[in-house]
């Protein structure tokens, strides 16, 4: 059975400390290595780099006033892309709001993304939501929204439904450690336990919820231990170790596929940047806290791994960065040249069919456009 082959020899285990595969120098513990193919390892790394490049560009665009908002994932790429890489293509992702890396890994088009960032007529969500709030059904990726934690029980229902229909897929849901304080976290994990739903709860413990440090979020020993309250498996993973995240996600997915229920994976990582472009962390966070995390950057570590494995050379780095940069710039150009959505996009799609009152309101809004 394929599953067996990919199972890591030494698996992440509840209460056994932080699971890791790679050292800082990129060397791996062979027993734990998820043994990615060259192509897969490169795709994983390249997506991390592309995510970082995209992040930098979006932040710049926001500073220039060309887009209204951006929420990035600097420092968390290994967690985000690594977990996507641990899934099968048929698995479904319920995003939080920082997982563009997971979408890119699955082939989400930069152009589609950029239309969302600019809220254009080309936006698949029709300019109705903020930047970074896209939906990507075609790649098995849900609907980004702002309310913290609401996606957690939804993922449970989705995963349960898929199993109910005889599928062998799992659902993975992303959230931050701050979200673990919401009622939705609790009810989601509890329902998953009782319903034996094949769901992976992927907590990006990036240590901060805007200005609130994790120590003020909960007094529990860690996040993973919370799994015990629901009779599900909980593991801690080095979230800056992309291979560890791949291995842990794969194992959780295999368990889910084989009827062993849900797993809570706590990925220990760090929000190196601001919460979003609306935030300024200097007000509440000392830069000294950030420095060591920058040194443990997940992208650097993964590159060292590729280099050791002999499947990455300096010119590759330049190529991937240049290509990413060019692609982002091209997408920006397209989006900036695209008109804003039609007026009717406000009034359509509230329901499958438009009721009388929305037809009237649309007329009213159209008339209002003619007012001085």
């Amino acid at each position: 059975m394929a599953a067996k082959k990919t199972k890591p020899v030494v698996a992440p285990t509840p209460n056994s400390g932080v699971f890791s595969v790679m050292k800082a120098d990129g060397s791996v513990d062979a027993r734990r290595d998820p043994k990615l193919s060259t192509a897969a390892a490169r795709h994983l790394y390249e997506t991390m780099v592309r995510t970082r490049v995209l992040d930098e560009r979006m932040t710049m665009l926001q500073r220039q006033g060309r887009i209204g908002f951006h929420i990035g994932s600097m420092g968390e790429e290994a967690t985000i892309v690594g977990s996507a890489a641990g899934l099968d293509a048929g698995d479904f992702i319920f995003p939080c709001y920082r997982e563009i890396g997971a979408a890119l890994y699955r082939g989400f088009s930069l152009e589609t993304y950029m239309h969302n960032m600019f809220g254009t007529a080309g936006d698949t969500v029709k300019g109705r939501q903020m930047p970074d709030h896209y939906s990507a059904r075609e790649i098995g990726f849900g609907s980004v929204s702002s309310p913290v934690g609401t996606q957690i029980p939804q993922a449970v229902g989705y995963a349960w439904a898929a199993r109910h229909k005889g599928e062998k897929s799992v659902a993975l849901v992303y959230f931050g450690e701050g979200a673990t304080s919401e009622g939705d976290f609790h009810v989601g994990l509890n329902f998953a336990g009782v319903m034996k739903a094949p769901v992976i709860f992927l907590c990006r413990n990036n240590h901060w919820a805007i200005s609130v440090p994790v120590a003020r979020q909960t007094r529990s020993e860690n996040i993973a231990v919370k799994a015990e309250a629901y009779g599900i498996r909980g593991v801690q993973v080095d979230g800056n170790d992309a291979l560890a995240v791949v291995a842990a996600t794969r194992e959780a997915a295999e368990r889910g596929r084989h009827g062993e229920g849900a797993t809570l994976i706590e990925c220990l990582t760090y929000r190196v940047g601001a919460h979003s472009t609306s935030d300024d962390p200097r007000v509440y966070r000392a830069d000294e806290e950030v420095v060591p995390w920058r040194a443990q950057d997940g992208i650097d570590r993964m590159r060292r791994y590729l280099e050791r494995r002999g499947i990455w050379k300096p010119s590759d780095e330049e190529t991937v960065r240049t290509k990413a940069d060019d692609a982002v710039k091209a997408a920006i150009k397209t989006a900036e040249a695209t008109a804003e959505p039609d007026l009717e996009t406000i009034f359509e799609g509230v329901f499958a069919e438009q009721p009388w009152h929305l037809r009237e309101e649309w007329d009213e809004a159209a008339r209002a456009r003619d007012l001085k």
């Binding site: 029709k126 929204s145 309310p147 439904a161 009810v187 989601g188």
Partner: protein
Amino acid sequence: MPTWNMIQAINDALRVEMRRDPNVVVLGEDVGKFGGVFRATEGLQKEFGDERVFDTPLSEGGIMGTAIGMAVYGLRPVPEIQFSDFIYPAFDQIVNEAAKFRYRSGGQFTVPMVIRTPCGGGIRGGHYHSQSPEAYFIHTAGLKVVMPSNPHDAKGLLLSSIRDDDPVVFFEPKRIYRAAKGEVPEGDYTVPLGKAAILREGRDATIITWGAMVHEALAAATTLEGDGVGVELIDLRTLWPVDIDSIVDSAKKTGRVVVVHEAPRTCGFGAEIVTLIQERAFLHLEAPIKRVTGYDTPFPYTLENDYLPRAPRIVDGVRGVLNY
């Protein structure tokens, strides 16, 4: 045609649709083996198994959150909230998630789901087993809101609601669960959403109401008929989107309108009905539109009959608009 009460009609609607559509699942507190505290889901688990009819942990937020996920996947969940007084822990999932999923995803994801929930007073349930919270949901863009007043409509509207591609909040007036009886067709039929029922025609005054209050209004209309007053009685059935033509036409015809509801008056759905009519039938109105409603207090226990808009208050309201 059998004569059934509301519970039997609702139970039958669920059975009919679960037989027809394997995507329908029923979940909630006590809906499984017990068949629901009002017995609306009785026998369903036995027929459809505990994967399609099951008890959840005690969490309305969890019921709603997981049901949304099921609907996003493609099922048609029919979650039950045991009393609509307890729907608020699920409020965020309903108003911020279910109601906005289609819109915010540009139609990529939809939430075809029917939230069944008993509502209303008159059963000596006090604050927490008597509320009529329909206005909260009518105010929320993206939700349909339904409240039947009799077994025939209950079954037909529930079947329409389950087949609807958007989330529907389906209120069941628990006071008439067993009291309202009537002939109900067996098998499949639907009552369309968005269409009111004109239960009586009349030229002198219009009463617009829904749910259990339909029965008080019928009693009031009978009394008024004895006095020679012809009342047009409209049972909205679907509260939102409301059947605008029926209410405006009737208001134009009679020029005198009374809206009756159990919920607290202020910002209740009555205010919206009044406003829609005055916007569209202003010159036809012979008197201010009158609200006969519950009061702006939590629902009381001992004195609930003072709180509820009973027939005499409705009669008085109609007389008020007639004598204006």
